[in-house]
Symmetry: C2
């Protein structure tokens, strides 16, 4: 009888122990769920984007296209693809749309031509690729990726970049492809709609971060002008150790302030969070210089920010926790 009692007690303890382990694992699972397995954040440019200036039809078009770009990236990530592929998928979707100032729909230089810039960075090995001032490449982000993956260089500019892309089999278009009536009207009016750069950052299930940015640059810019978008450290940066960042705004200030890397450096060297670092750089440092723009960023834990000091920023995010949203105006961050 004593033996039976002992066994019962031992069994009881065992059951309780297993129960506790089970309970703990459930709790861990809950905690894990707070950190998404994958995540993607996109932007389609920051600037004076006000509800009163957009017809409900235009607003709908932007929302649709942002959702489409987000889905293109999210599908890659859901299927176990890489953050690089997700960033590429999201950005090419926006480049192919005339709604944004990148690829089809890029703005015009003072000469009435398109000169596009793009860059991409792989956070797993800090490899990077960039093109500046390209005129014939349908998807500049693919050219940036080609430079990263299939050349010994990081950055190519001008005709050399166009030739490289053609030789590597990328789709080439003549200037009529990039021309859209809306951008042309914008050029003729020399209005202040300087923004419209597109970008994406992603975290994949392998734990790797990536970032990419693509732009037509400033409306009415000087021939040859390069903004922050193709500059690693200014418009784009990714490193698994800190974060992935894509910027949009008044490029000259973003170059001078090395914006994308500054956020990463603050996290690495000051130990602040992604949110604190982004707020300091965009809402304090840049704002004090009257420098307009914003960034999207992701850290390795899947925390994300969409920080901008302008009236609005076309933007959206989606992650494996089921979170997802597309936003335009400044009412919510």
């Amino acid at each position: 009888m004593k033996k039976l009692l002992k066994t019962t007690i031992l069994l009881g303890i065992l059951v309780i122990a297993i129960g506790l382990i089970f309970l703990t694992s459930c709790t861990n699972k809950d905690i894990k769920n707070n950190n998404p397995q994958w995540a993607i954040v996109i932007h389609g440019g920051a600037g004076t984007i006000l509800k009163k200036n957009l017809t409900s039809e235009t607003e709908k078009l932007y929302n649709q296209k942002l959702n489409e770009a987000l889905e293109a990236g999210a599908t890659v990530l859901e299927n176990g693809g890489t953050s690089l592929d997700a960033v590429t998928a999201a950005i090419t979707t926006m480049e192919d749309s005339p709604l944004f100032n990148a690829g089809k729909g890029a703005v015009f230089t003072a000469e009435g031509k398109n000169e596009m810039d793009a860059s991409i960075m792989d956070g797993s090995n800090i490899n990077a690729g960039a093109v500046a001032g390209v005129q014939t490449i349908k998807n500049p982000i693919l050219a940036a990726r080609e430079v990263m993956e299939n050349s010994k260089h990081v950055m190519l500019q001008g005709e050399g970049a166009d030739i490289f892309a053609k030789e590597h089999g990328l789709e080439i278009e003549d200037s009529s492809y990039f021309f859209t009536q809306r951008r042309w009207e914008s050029f003729k009016k020399v209005n202040k709609n300087k923004f419209g750069t597109v970008g994406a950052v992603a975290l994949d299930i392998h734990g790797n971060l990536a970032a990419g940015t693509s732009t037509g640059g400033m409306t009415n810019k000087m021939k040859g002008r390069v903004g922050d978008s193709p500059i690693i450290g200014a418009g784009t940066y990714a490193d698994n150790e800190s974060c992935a960042v894509s910027a949009t705004g008044h490029g000259e200030y973003f170059i001078r302030n090395v914006v994308a890397y500054d956020i990463a450096a603050l996290m690495k060297y000051s130990g602040v969070s992604l949110k604190e670092a982004s707020n300091y750089v965009i809402m304090k440092k840049l704002k004090d210089q009257n420098a307009e723009g914003g960034i999207i960023a992701l850290d390795k834990a899947g925390n994300f920010v969409m920080t901008f000091n302008t009236k609005g920023m076309y933007r959206g995010y989606k992650n494996s926790n089921g979170l997802g949203e597309v936003l335009i105006y400044g009412d919510r961050k």
Copy 2:
């Protein structure tokens, strides 16, 4: 009598007070003397520079030209000129010499052409200017400065940059000017002498830092290739709050590691010294990636470093304390 006594005591106190103030100011002056009023550091490229490979004649030529560049900058600073003018004077001296891979003597692309890059940054207001892939500008550093001071942009590439420089009255040369037999032989042999970028950093008596870099890029580089030299944050950075940096080396790695700004960020955010920051970035971070090159840098107190992980770096420094030296090989830092 009482009044006289009072007056005498008051006068005595006054004399002692003035004496103390005088003494303090003298002590301050002594401390200040340890920190030079002005300083300049230059480089003419890092690489496999070994004594056995240089004839004594060649060595003498390099020493002479480095001294000349140093003097050109030092003269500006001695006369109360700005760090920007000193950096410009030192760099144009080296650009005008066929000994270095910048301006006259720039290396050739795979197509047999010159494509030069340069950038400059003003630490007093973090303003910056850069040109990439220019082919006709006698002194690319002057074009970078012109972009900074007389355009609304920070960076211009390709033909647009050449046109801008011409329109702004800078000296233009045809390709025969940049051609030198030595560089041509080097191109034909496709040897490994990839280095030879020039750069300068300076601190002026007004307490302002500046940095500049100019290069012909990699020997046999792909048409359109942009290295770190015209990239603010990678090849050049200056901010009175941290330091002024000019880099030389395997540009692709310098871009990916945002080398110049990384040193500044380490100082600002981790609170380490210029020496510690430079050693970490060049001797640890880059070395771990087998990335060859070096930097010269100055902080606001006039502390300077000339840090490289290669066999040698053409380099020199001079300051108002009477310190000054020109070095080539790796025996001394």
